[in-house]
């Protein structure tokens, strides 16, 4: 592996990995994609992320960068000229970071509860999940993207979860589009871009994966 090579250790259904794929695609950076088997983690993964032992891991100039939000900002700083993801104004950057942090704090865990629980717990998770999506819709407003006229940081951080929406809907027996039509319109707009559509797996594949996980973990 040459020093200039970019390597991404990833796992195909991971929304965190998808963020990095989108960022690299936006910047038109060629990289080597290495699929990890999370039940049998590679020596490279364990060496490059000894603290958390998690994907995604971005390796550039032989040095690892871990944690998807950090990786997206790193990519934006290394290759600043093509498709900038964060705005230049400090206040706008703070807003973008705030909503990226909000997505990280809420969406993954709530989504997980939607497909792993039942009854009251699931209903509570669905309710809070939709409330969070509505807050994000409010932040989007009438803009084409969270980044304004172009796809930006928050778009890259949030849109990966769109590939999981069908699975959430089937498991939770609800329609996200009915509750948050503007957000779905935004997601479809993002999917018109190659950088997004080529980075997200098919929703059906994610649903099959979720069904498989439910079997493995004994979740009804």
């Amino acid at each position: 592996m040459g020093d200039e090579d970019v390597v991404l250790l990833d796992f195909w259904p991971s929304p965190f990995g998808m963020r990095v794929r989108i960022a690299l695609a936006e910047k038109e950076i060629k990289y080597e994609y290495k699929e990890e088997d999370l039940r049998n983690k590679s020596d490279l993964l364990l060496k490059m992320n000894p603290i958390h032992k998690k994907i995604p891991v971005l390796i550039y100039n032989g040095k690892p960068v871990c944690e998807s939000l950090i990786q997206v900002q790193y990519i934006d700083e290394i290759w600043p000229h093509k498709s900038p993801l964060l705005p230049t104004d400090p206040y706008q950057r703070a807003i973008a970071r705030f909503w990226g942090d909000f997505v990280d704090k809420k969406i993954y865990d709530l989504g997980r509860k939607v497909w792993t629980t039942k009854g009251e717990e699931q209903e509570a998770a669905k309710k809070e999940f939709i409330e969070c999506l509505k807050l994000l819709e409010g932040e989007l407003g009438n803009k084409a993207y969270f980044g304004g006229e172009n796809l930006g940081y928050v778009d890259a951080v949030l849109v990966p979860f769109y590939s999981w929406f069908y699975a959430y809907e089937k498991c939770g027996n609800f329609s996200i589009e009915r509750e948050c039509p503007k957000l779905i319109a935004w997601a479809k707009r993002c999917m018109e871009k190659d950088s997004v559509s080529k980075s997200l797996p098919d929703q059906d594949k994610i649903y099959d994966f979720v069904l498989h996980l439910k079997k493995v973990f004994g979740i009804e």
Binding site: V65, Q73, Y74, E77, P90, R93, F102
Partner: protein, 232 residues
């Protein structure tokens, strides 16, 4: 008027390590600010609820007409608006490393520190202490790599990771006092032990680091409140 000249206000409490981060960052930049103290036990002020409707938490930075929330986001904002005496490293990989350890501190280490105080039973307490000590050894190693022989994680001056970690020292000392265990010590964490003193004595930190005694009293009062609250 340049944005950097607009009035700066910090909404917070004296005991919060997250609020302290913001005050240290402003001190490093020699930026004057008004400190609006929230009395959280009396309920959240209208200003707080209006400025941070999503999380309803401190700290909040109010700069002119703009409000910024989340301590690490505020610190980065401060670093970008007032570029003298830089807080984040200039090298992108060093920046990513500083952010990595900051996330580790917030997501893993500090919750395990708090778990010591809330642990019920000796086994739970020992497990929580073990986790904190393990984390400190990782941070000792990280200090060696980041400081490169200099005084701080930020090398010759206080930087992002110093602020993120250093502002937890008050609560670390309270935990040491209440548990009777020296979590930072000469055997396991000799470099961090010395770094902690340097951080606390820094001009930007001295006046905003709460006294351990006062914090310990506050912690006791909080614990009393938590135990008194009926569990639903």
């Amino acid at each position: 008027m340049a944005k950097s000249d607009a009035a700066v206000k910090v909404l917070g409490t004296w005991a919060s390590p997250f609020v302290m981060r913001v005050r240290v960052a402003l001190n490093i930049k020699s930026v004057a600010y008004e400190f609006l103290q929230e009395r959280l036990w009396e309920g959240k002020s209208e200003l707080l609820l209006k400025s941070n409707p999503v999380h309803r938490k401190v700290p909040v930075l109010i700069h002119g007409d703009d409000t910024i929330c989340e301590s690490l986001i505020i610190v980065q904002y401060i670093d970008e608006v007032w570029p003298s005496a830089p807080i984040l490293p200039s090298d992108p990989h060093e920046r990513a490393t500083a952010r990595f350890w900051a996330a580790y501190l917030d997501d893993k280490w500090f919750p395990s520190l708090r778990a010591i105080g809330m642990a019920e039973g000796e086994d739970a307490r020992k497990a929580a202490i073990g986790q904190v000590e393990e984390g400190l050894m990782l941070l000792e190693e990280a200090f060696g790599k980041c400081s490169q022989g200099q005084a701080f994680f930020g090398k010759d001056q206080i930087g992002y990771l110093d602020i993120t970690f250093g502002c937890f020292l008050g609560w670390l000392r309270v935990t040491e006092k209440m548990s009777g265990i020296k979590l930072l010590n000469e055997i396991n964490t000799p470099d961090l032990l010395k770094w902690a003193d340097r951080f606390c004595n820094d001009a930007a930190v001295k006046d905003v680091m709460p006294e351990t005694e006062k914090l310990a009293e506050f912690a006791k009062m909080l614990r009393g409140r938590v135990r008194a609250t009926p569990k639903s």
